[in-house]
């Protein structure tokens, strides 16, 4: 390898590419028999080798690695059975319309088998083509894997696509797997009763990794390989320091607070990416501080930060709105806010009194930042002053924000305290 001066740069690139590569991240989970990888692989490969038609749902929260594991399984199966599998990928967000989905299936089947595709073909043509292909591929011992991402979107409407797919899978010669990927746990309840009866209800549930798995995952991602282009002693030292960090209680504390809010793999990976980016290239090693900075940058409180950026006038408006709510005035608009603002100014003789058009600008600014919002979407033709508005942050948040706002007028804090 042409020696870059700093092996830390190579290490950084390696770590980053690892974190961004889902295939790499999910490989350590693949060997144990309890893992979703082997369960899924077993089901799909039994379809390939024994011609069992199956339909499977992959369920789990977003970011728990459903698609990543599925891709891993498909990759491995494609390597094992070279030209016996064709994969058709659909996404509910794009192809929830049956007509369009069937056309897309026909297109992908054509591409897969180097056939000519016509855009002009009708729904009937395409669905007949699909069923005929299922049959012929079954006769030729070829399996078709249908991956339906965002499965819940396919359950809108009459579900013709699902019905004809699942119905075709009941014929003798077809050899196909339908894999639905969804984050909705009740996805199978959305199926129409006829479709549900034909669905074979395999479910693979993706849960956040356990503590031990997490530890293994961290080591898997971070430990540098000893016998590659990286200098040997550097890698050894890196791994040793890393080991110390991973064993450190403070590090565990950080990871725990991170996972308290969201324990999915994706969230963890995003955090690790931040941490790796903060790695000090001078020393070339990861330190606990990197993780701390990453933690603070990943746990941001957008509404609070907005408050910090507000001008004094905007704060006045927010406080006025809050006071109106305290007075149990349910519906208010810019004019009633202005009345309140004027009342405050008259009562306390504050130095910050601005003209009405300035206030209107500040008001619009708040709307744009979604700290306040209009009650209804309908009155678009009404002028802003008369549309009813609502405060979008709670009084606690406002209070917190004012407290941490450096140059906040005392009067405002007092007003909120009341």
């Amino acid at each position: 390898m042409k020696g870059r001066e700093n092996p830390a740069e190579d290490a950084l690139i390696l770590l980053r590419s690892r974190i961004c590569n889902p295939n790499f991240v999910f490989t350590p989970f693949s060997d144990s028999p309890d893992s979703n990888y082997s369960k899924l692989k077993f089901i799909i490969s039994s379809s390939v080798t024994e011609a069992c038609n199956n339909s499977i749902l992959l369920l789990g929260p977003r970011g728990s690695g459903k698609t990543a594991v599925l891709e891993l399984v498909i990759r491995d199966l494609l390597a094992e059975h070279a030209d016996m599998i064709s994969v058709i990928r659909l996404n509910g967000l794009l192809h929830s319309d049956d007509n369009c989905a069937v056309k897309e299936i026909a297109r992908q089947l054509c591409v897969e088998h180097q056939l000519l595709f016509s855009k002009m073909a009708s729904f009937d043509d395409n669905s007949q083509f699909m069923i005929a292909m299922l049959r012929e591929c079954g006769l030729a011992h070829k399996t078709i894997i249908f991956v339906l991402d965002e499965f819940d979107f396919f359950t809108q409407g009459k579900q013709r696509l699902l019905y004809s797919l699942l119905d075709a899978m009941q014929s003798v010669t077809s050899q196909a797997v339908v894999i639905g990927v969804s984050c909705r746990l009740d996805a199978d309840q959305l199926l129409e009763k006829r479709v549900r009866s034909r669905f074979s209800h395999r479910k693979v549930l993706f849960l956040p990794p356990s503590k031990e798995d997490l530890q293994r995952l961290l080591e898997h991602i971070f430990s540098l390989p000893v016998d590659t282009s990286l200098p040997n002693d550097y890698a050894v030292e890196f791994n040793m320091k890393l080991h110390h960090i991973l064993a450190d209680e403070r590090f565990k504390e950080i990871i725990n607070t991170l996972l308290n809010s969201d324990s999915t793999v994706k969230h963890l990976l995003r955090f690790l990416f931040y941490a790796v980016c903060h790695m000090d290239l001078e020393s070339g090693f990861l330190s606990l501080d990197n993780f701390r900075t990453a933690m603070s940058s990943i746990q941001r409180q957008p509404k609070m930060e907005y408050l910090q950026d507000c001008s004094i006038l905007e704060l006045y408006i927010l406080v006025c709105m809050k006071r109106l709510e305290v007075k149990e005035q349910n519906s208010y608009n810019f004019n009633s806010v202005m009345k309140e603002y004027k009342g405050i100014h008259d009562a306390y003789q504050t130095s910050d009194y601005y003209a009405r058009n300035v206030c209107l600008r500040a008001f619009e600014h708040l709307v744009q930042r979604e700290l306040i919002c209009f009650m209804d979407n309908r009155g678009n033709n009404q002028s802003i002053e008369f549309r009813a508005v609502k405060l979008l942050i709670s009084s606690h948040e406002l209070y917190q924000g004012l407290k941490s706002y450096r140059s906040c007028p005392v009067i405002l804090r007092k007003l909120v305290d009341q």
Binding site: L115, L116, S118, A140, T173, D186, C373, E397
Partner: protein
């Protein structure tokens, strides 16, 4: 141009075969399909102008085509580098072909008007002492010096070398052959140097003979008998060569056709499907096995479809014929033939311009499907020996057609009686039957099996022929499309739905139309009938109105789920449909049990209680047979998974039936008991700390697996997700339940909830994470539909509601190790 091929045709055979002189030749039925011809005309073929022009001429000059096709016989000979000589001598030796007597006349009626002195098609012909029928398989002479070949079979001759060759072939039999076909008799090897008669089979397998499948038989104008043959080839002749799993007597059916004179037939042989082959008890020498079709152009294999050899098969064959004309018509001169071969070789690399029709359009479908096929038959399909569990899984598949349909005999009798009553009646008054029942109770299957039985009765001749149209409402793009589909099924023409409606009205409703007697009764099966309900319900009305017309001869069978569908419709429709109804009730547990056990007959994979458990559970929930079968299959899959995964790491041992089990782990013994309860001779021996268990490779599916399968099918996984979710989500959920208990209102807003959360956190020493984080947690839960919530942009005004009963949350989080204080609030 049309005549040139005749003249340039200089193979000696031409002298023997008189060229037909009649100018107007009737088109044979198989070339009539208009779509084909239009395709042929439109398809551009820049590669060979001669060919394309000839092709178009072919449609009009039938005999010429025939003759050019006839050279196929010769061509094959040429391919094997042998000169072609006329087989006049042989013809002399044989009896005059005129003696062949006609047993059945087929197709004559259709062509009766035009057929005067033209070809006559037969179904069965007695020729040269043998009886040949359409659909038989025959040996065909390969070499031109047929006389010597002929003698070969009669006179014992010294064929030392080739006999040896044959036996040598016998030696390199594939390993799996013996296993798969224990019954195959290996012929005793003759002592070397002795005189030996080589059987036709051996000659075939050493490619000195051919076999072909008779598709058509006809008598030419000059009185010679011809047949259209579909070649079989031996594995050695395929591109992939003989594969290790090929059986000794295996043949492949090709899509290569040829017109062959009946003279060249040697005798009948029998090519069977694997099922027939294993059952065949006539242990003759002329039995072959054919499981796959070989595409000579793409060099790919495809399994033969098992069921559809009815009218669909015919149609398919016709299409194939046309397709071959497109490709082979230019093969009557030698140069052309070379070109042809070259062209064929080029084909797999990419679709030739002649096929520039999109595969997914209606016209192009046949091309596309032709191309599908494996280059090599995967070994595991043939050689893999199924375990009991795998066999159980295979027979429990929904796709597997059961041998018998238990529990629906009464309903099936009723359907049969209904249809027979409707057809056999001289009047053939149209009628409607409405079948309803929840999904998975065998409605469609019963009707289809009744139709199958009826078809065999039609074949036997006890009932008049009828046509059967099967439509699924959910597979139609729109309800109106049904007219089009019906019309296409009845007439084979594609028209728009309005036109189709008009034509159908003409056919069914118009009384003035003549020749009503010729129309066959038509049975229309409409599955998922409820999908045809349009706003003004005109589609249903039209369809159900036709049967009431006097000469319609239409019988409609509608299938749907709801019992009261007719009542929901307009009265004029329900009065037409609702008279005769048949209800398919949900299966009870005994019936489900019978259905499962009848499928599992002869497979020892399930405990009896397990089946009973599954069927009781399903009967209690839905009575859906599909569900019951799926549960059992899933249970078998789980058991299979456990066996394969937990024992596979040292996989060397799985061969000899010993599965090493690591009993050192705590689950081990339990595992043995659970999965192998009925192992009679389980011997346990200890070896290096791990314990090996030897048993005859048997595992039963028990209650545990069925339970797991039922859980998976019927339970939403929310409890597991709640249990494993993050700490904050748990607190969030508990706060929701708490809020629910306190206010009694199911719906709450984010603002109220976050106050509750912060209360819970502060009183139990947790750090309150901040509102924005909490909002994110709530939205995550909303994504999984554990709670129902509005968009996160509404922030504190966001409305929240639990999607599952609060008891589920209580059950999941009551004894949480991470947060023991949660139990207080539940």
């Amino acid at each position: 141009m049309a005549e040139t091929p005749q003249k340039s045709f200089h193979s000696p055979r031409k002298a023997h075969k008189p060229s037909p002189s009649t100018p107007i030749i009737p088109q044979t039925p198989q070339t009539v399909t208009p779509s084909r011809s239009s395709r042929q005309v439109s398809s551009p073929d820049p590669s060979d102008l001669r060919r394309s022009s000839r092709r178009s001429s072919l449609q009009f000059l039938e005999p010429e085509k025939r003759s050019s096709k006839a050279t196929k016989y010769v061509k094959k000979g040429e391919r094997s580098k042998l000169p072609v000589t006329p087989d006049v001598s042989e013809a002399r030796k044989r009896k005059s072909p005129d003696e062949g007597n006609v047993v059945t006349r087929a197709r004559v009626s259709r062509n009766a008007g035009l057929m005067r002195k033209k070809r006559v098609y037969y179904k069965k012909v007695v020729y040269d002492g043998g009886e040949f029928a359409v659909g038989d398989d025959v040996y065909v002479k390969r070499r031109e010096n047929a006389s010597s070949d002929d003698e070969e079979l009669q006179v014992e001759e010294l064929f030392e070398t080739s006999a040896e060759g044959g036996s040598r072939r016998g030696l390199d039999m594939p390993v799996c052959e013996a296993r798969k076909l224990g019954k195959e008799v290996v012929l005793p090897k003759p002592p070397k140097g002795k005189k030996r008669k080589r059987t036709a089979r051996e000659k075939l397998l050493s490619s000195d003979l051919w076999t072909a499948h008779i598709e058509n038989i006809w008598k030419e104008v000059d009185g010679t008998y011809w047949f259209r043959g579909r070649w079989y080839i031996i594995p050695e002749e395929t591109a992939a060569g003989r594969q290790s799993h090929n059986l000794r007597r295996e043949l492949y059916r090709t899509n290569d056709f040829a017109d062959i004179e009946m003279e060249s037939i040697i005798r009948l042989c029998y090519v069977m499907s694997p099922k027939e082959f294993t059952k065949a008890n006539n242990e003759g020498d002329d039995i072959f096995l054919c499981e796959y079709e070989y595409d000579i152009h793409w060099h790919s294999f495809k399994r033969l479809a098992e069921i559809d050899n009815g009218e669909e098969g015919n149609e398919e064959a016709d299409n194939d014929v046309d397709w071959d004309y497109g490709k082979d018509s230019g093969s009557d001169t030698e140069e052309d033939m070379e070109y042809e071969e070259e062209n064929v070789n080029n084909l797999p690399s990419g679709p030739s311009p002649a096929h520039a029709v999109a595969a997914n359009s209606w016209k192009g479908r046949i091309f596309g499907l032709k191309k599908i096929g494996t280059k090599k038959i995967p070994g595991h399909v043939r050689c893999h020996k199924q375990t009991e569990l795998e066999r159980a899984k295979a027979t429990l598949l929904l796709a597997t057609l059961p041998k018998s349909l238990p529990c629906r005999t009464k309903e099936m009798e009723e359907i049969t009686a209904f249809i027979k009553g409707a057809i056999c009646n001289d009047q053939c008054l149209g009628r409607c039957l409405y079948i309803h029942g929840v999904p998975g109770t065998g409605k469609t299957m019963s009707v289809l099996s009744v139709m199958r039985n009826l078809r065999s009765e039609v074949d036997a001749g006890s009932i008049k022929p009828y046509c059967f149209v099967d439509i699924n409402g959910l597979k139609l793009a729109s309800p109106e499309n049904i007219y089009r589909v019906i019309y296409e099924a009845l007439s084979g023409h594609r028209v728009g739905w309005k036109k189709a409606l008009h034509l159908l009205n003409e056919r069914f409703a118009d009384e003035s139309k003549i020749a009503k007697e010729e129309i066959r009764p038509c049975i229309l099966l409409i599955d998922e009938l409820d999908l045809l309900v349009t706003r003004n319900q005109s589609v249903l009305y039209n369809i159900l109105d036709w049967p009431t017309k006097p000469h319609s001869k239409l019988i409609v069978i509608g299938i749907a789920n709801t019992m009261d569908l007719p009542e929901k419709l307009l009265p004029r429709i329900s009065s037409r449909m609702g008279i005769q109804r048949l209800c398919f009730g949900p299966y009870n547990y005994q019936q489900l049990q019978e259905i499962i056990s009848s499928r599992l007959k002869g497979i020892d994979a399930f405990e009896r209680q397990a089946i009973e458990f599954a069927s009781r559970k399903v009967a209690a929930i839905s009575g859906d047979a599909r569900r019951a079968l799926e549960i059992c299959r899933r249970a078998a899959e789980l058991a299979d998974y456990h066996i394969k995964k937990l024992t596979s790491p040292p996989d060397s041992s799985s061969e000899d039936g010993t599965l090493p089990l690591f009993l050192a782990s705590q689950t081990g013994l339990h595992f043995v008991e659970k999965y192998y309860p009925l192992v009679p001779k389980a011997t346990v021996s200890s070896l290096d700390g791990s314990i090996f268990l030897c048993f005859p490779g048997k595992a039963l599916v028990g209650m545990a697996e069925v339970e797991a399968a039922i859980q998976e099918m019927f339970q939403a996984p929310q409890i597991q997700v709640m249990k494993s979710s993050s700490k904050l989500s748990k607190i969030f959920l508990v706060a929701m339940v708490h809020e629910l208990y306190q206010t009694g209102m199911a719906e709450t807003t984010f603002e109220k909830l976050s106050v509750t959360v912060s209360c819970l956190c502060t009183s139990n020493g947790e750090k309150f994470p901040g509102w924005d984080t909490l909002l994110r947690v709530g939205c995550k839960l909303g994504e999984c539909r554990i709670i129902l919530c509005e968009a996160g942009a509404k922030h504190r005004l966001q409305k929240l509601q639990l999607n599952f009963p609060s008891d589920d949350v209580a059950f999941a989080l009551k004894d949480d190790k991470e947060l023991p204080w949660l139990a207080k609030y539940l």
